[in-house]
């Protein structure tokens, strides 16, 4: 007994020491944080350490929709047009652009004196080569610019010739992933089937070293030619205020949280929302929230029970969006309820049409709709993955909703690459939960257009027709009624059931100033004090 007591006291002492150590550290950190407020000076030679959650598969932004490629590439490359903080299209590498009366020719006047990281000046031949590569390899280029052609007029003027006028062309050219980065003509010529082999852009940072699976090291491009307009979103003035950026690949979320708390990292991306409380109590670290995208349930419209619109409507009628989003994102701070496919800040695309069908949570009415549907008691399969916790949590909610309205359902859980493959076969499942990054136009969400053949296989002539009709309009004033109509049809047909808009959480050290986000992180105009 005496020995037991001695052991117990010994262990208690260890824990007490640990606890005291923590408190002392915490108060020290607070003290130093306050003093930094007064004495901190911005260092132009600072290194920004960013804990980044996923490995990069490629640094060719033309090729992929992967967010990791987008997030790093946008610091290196630029495009002709880009988006400002209101998601409006503005010139970037183009000084200006104009559209012909018939809408079939876009003329881009290039900025003079813009140099690539290899020291060569960007000229029309580079733009033509880059845009042709992008049109050939990117999903967006293939889908929206079939038959289009870029033509060099003179070294600083390029024309885009298209077969059919389209309102969304500038948005497609300003898209963020896969984005039409302008690279030297030689880089295009040396590219292989898996993409670029050299990574040269015109952006404020240049690639110094890519140590695959470990880090990507970018350095300030001293010859960078910035625009002079006020900085806004991805547009306007860009200044590289730190000398180096290290994207350190840290796949374990708890390591990212611990690392930003100790100052090992200055910024930690993709922080699990349940760590928000821990972060807010960490001295010297601020949580930053940004628009993460939209959360949805994607139905299999091609085969199985949800091919019947009545059952899709039954599920949507029973769905309580507030409860589902709380289950997925833990707290109301981390999501917003909204029925529109576009964010409210995307003024040209946001619509509240069909809002009455959103967030109903009406189980009784839903049961009635199930009765009226062709559902005959079979067990439905909800495909999901634990690689994205919010997808999994939403899938669990879907199972409960279905069971509440008398529909049997099971979860099929796979790792992400397996999930992606299983999802391509219509007989494998009935629905899955999915989040989509914000897109500049509704057309770029893959689940609307039947031609995209995205899993779920939306096949609505009405939606296809409205998508086409919108592109045929001369301006957004004319397009607005059609956008409303499209949103209403989406709520009636239900290719997906929109649940809400989720927020992304980034942890930023208070030594870092100026961090912003627009469909991904922005590291220019970001400074760090020592």
């Amino acid at each position: 007994m005496r020995k037991f007591l001695i052991s117990f006291l010994f262990l208690s002492l260890i824990f007490a020491l640990v606890a005291c150590g923590g408190e002392e550290e915490s108060s020290d950190a607070e003290g130093s944080s306050e003093s930094q407020g007064g004495e901190a000076s911005v260092s132009v030679d600072a290194s920004l350490n960013v804990a980044y959650p996923t490995n990069l598969q490629t640094l060719d932004p033309h090729l992929t929709t992967n967010q990791s490629t987008r997030d790093v590439s946008r610091q290196i490359y630029e495009q002709l047009l880009t988006l400002n903080e209101n998601y409006e299209v503005v010139p970037s590498l183009a000084e200006s652009y104009e559209v012909s009366e018939d809408g079939l020719v876009y003329t881009f006047h290039l900025r003079e004196g813009v140099t690539f990281h290899n020291g060569e000046e960007m000229q029309a031949e580079d733009v033509v080569a880059s845009m042709e590569k992008w049109m050939e390899t990117s999903t967006q280029g293939k889908a929206n610019l079939t038959g289009a052609e870029f033509v060099e007029v003179d070294p600083y003027t390029v024309e885009l010739h298209i077969d059919q006028a389209s309102l969304i062309i500038p948005y497609v050219l300003a898209d963020t992933a896969p984005f039409p980065a302008i690279v030297p003509k030689e880089s295009v010529e040396s590219a292989v089937e898996t993409g670029l082999t050299e990574y040269i852009g015109t952006g404020p940072f240049q690639l110094e070293e890519w140590n695959v699976d470990q880090y990507i090291h970018l350095t300030r491009f001293d010859e960078y030619q910035s625009r002079e307009e006020e900085s806004s979103g991805l547009a306007g003035k860009k200044e590289a205020l730190v000398k180096d950026i290290y994207f350190r690949i840290v796949t374990d979320p708890s390591t990212r949280v611990a690392g930003v708390s100790t100052g090992e990292y200055d910024i930690a991306m993709d922080i699990p929302l349940d760590s928000a409380e821990q972060l807010s109590s960490s001295a010297g670290v601020d949580p930053v929230y940004s628009d993460g995208g939209i959360s949805t349930y994607v139905f299999n419209n091609k085969a199985g029970a949800f091919a019947d619109a009545a059952l899709r409507q039954a599920f949507n009628t029973a769905l309580n969006a507030q409860e589902a989003m709380t289950a997925a994102y833990t707290n109301e701070e981390f999501f917003k309820l909204d029925s529109g496919l576009a964010l409210p800040s995307q003024v040209n695309w946001h619509s509240e049409a069909g809002r009455e069908n959103y967030n109903q949570g009406d189980i009784e009415k839903a049961k009635q709709l199930v009765e009226e549907s062709s559902y005959s008691g079979e067990e439905l399969t909800i495909l999901t993955t634990k690689d994205y916790q919010d997808h999994y949590n939403l899938a669990v909610v879907a199972q409960q909703v279905l069971e509440a309205i008398g529909v049997k359902a099971k979860l099929d859980v796979y790792d992400w690459p397996t999930f992606q493959e299983i999802r391509t076969e219509p007989t494998n499942y009935d629905m899955f939960a999915m989040t989509f990054a914000v897109r500049p136009t509704l057309h770029q969400y893959p689940f609307l257009d039947s031609k995209a053949e995205y899993p779920g296989w939306t096949d609505s002539e009405e939606i296809d027709h409205l998508l086409d009709e919108i592109t045929e309009q001369k301006n957004f004033e004319d397009a607005k009624p059609l956008v409303d109509e499209l949103q209403q049809v989406v709520w009636d047909y239900l290719p997906v059931a929109k649940v809400g808009n989720q927020q992304d959480l980034v942890a930023v050290s208070d030594k870092v100033k100026g961090y912003t986000d627009l469909i991904g992180p922005i590291f220019w105009n970001v400074s760090k004090s020592e």
């Binding site: 898996t194 611990a258 100790t262 690459p417 397996t418």
Partner: protein, 317 residues
């Protein structure tokens, strides 16, 4: 001895053949494809099919196996689809951190466990013995990722003695190298320490009962000389077996610790390659690990003779 070594090396061939077939089939039967990983979730089926064709991923599985295996026989393990390097080069790049980590973890495990094992044997049945055995049980049963997270919380976040994660190569200085490797090495070495402590204790207890130990005692030899010169050396064969086997486990089982501490080693390479379905790297790395494992076992077998002259193979009768 030479004949025995050559025989053992030849026995590698059927093992490698079986491993090659199984790994190839497992990799290719697992759903998921590298083209989707590369092009992204929203890429069209048409774009994926085009790239699959260009890279030869749409060839029949047996054709792909024959192509790959022909290369393996000639020493070419193929090119990594994502890393754009030969697999052997990739393996060499990632082996360094894992070897460093495994050696450091093994040293920690051996130092702790020999010390504790001998003490436990000497103080058999006492409170010290029970505490040591409790510690070793804890080491064996607590998963390494949990130990890792606990160490991060205590020594990196609270006390800030060590960095949270990361890796610095030896070229950046020994101190910096060890500073980054200490916590992961402890996390990884804990289980080995537990195993070796138990083996040391039980092996020492067996030897301590031997007649020659009693003789040594009766001759009036000092207790420490009996323990360390006579008992420990003679009880070392089973301990060496555990050390040898556990070193293999350290190399192959470091995946979790490497992920938690973000160390670019073989474990992380395999995890990342599985995530991106980089088939040639998965296949090549597993083959090379098999070779490493078999060679380690052979080394341990040969070391028996060094430690204990009674098991030397070339001893003439």
């Amino acid at each position: 001895m030479l004949k025995y070594t050559i025989q053992r090396l030849f026995s590698l061939i059927p093992i490698l053949l079986v491993v090659a077939v199984i790994v190839f089939l497992l990799a290719h039967m697992t759903p998921g494809d590298p083209v989707t990983v590369l092009l992204g979730d929203e890429a069209s089926e048409e774009a994926k099919a085009e790239l699959r064709h260009e890279l030869g991923f749409d060839l029949p599985v047996y054709t792909q196996f024959v192509n790959w295996f022909t290369g393996v026989v000639t020493g070419d393990l193929g090119m990594s689809f994502f890393l754009k390097k030969p697999v052997t080069e990739v393996f060499a790049d990632y082996l360094g951190p894992t070897i460093s980590l495994a050696i450091y973890a093994q040293i920690i495990a051996i130092v702790i466990s020999l010390f504790l094992g001998v003490i436990a044997a000497k103080k058999r049945g006492t409170f010290t013995d029970q505490t040591v055995m409790g510690f070793s049980l804890l080491g064996i049963s607590v998963p390494s990722f949990l130990v890792g997270l606990f160490l991060i919380l205590l020594f990196a976040v609270q006390l800030q003695w060590f960095p949270v994660a990361g890796y610095r190569p030896l070229s950046e200085g020994l101190w910096e190298h060890l500073r980054y490797l200490t916590l992961p090495a402890i996390a990884l070495g804990m289980m080995q320490a537990g195993l070796i402590t138990r083996m040391t204790r039980s092996s020492m207890l067996d030897v301590m009962k031997s007649n020659y130990i009693k003789t040594a005692k009766s001759k009036g030899l000092h207790q420490n000389r009996i323990t360390y010169k006579h008992a420990l050396r003679n009880s070392f064969i089973p301990i060496l077996t555990v050390i040898g086997e556990s070193f293999g486990t350290l190399i192959t089982g470091a995946a979790v610790v490497e992920t938690v501490f973000n160390i670019p080693g073989i474990g992380q390479l395999i995890v990342n390659s599985i995530e991106r379905r980089d088939f040639t790297v998965i296949q090549g790395t597993v083959l090379l690990i098999t070779v490493t494992y078999v060679l380690l076992n052979l080394t341990v077998d040969l070391l028996y003779g060094v430690v204990d002259p009674r098991v030397r193979l070339n001893r003439k009768k």
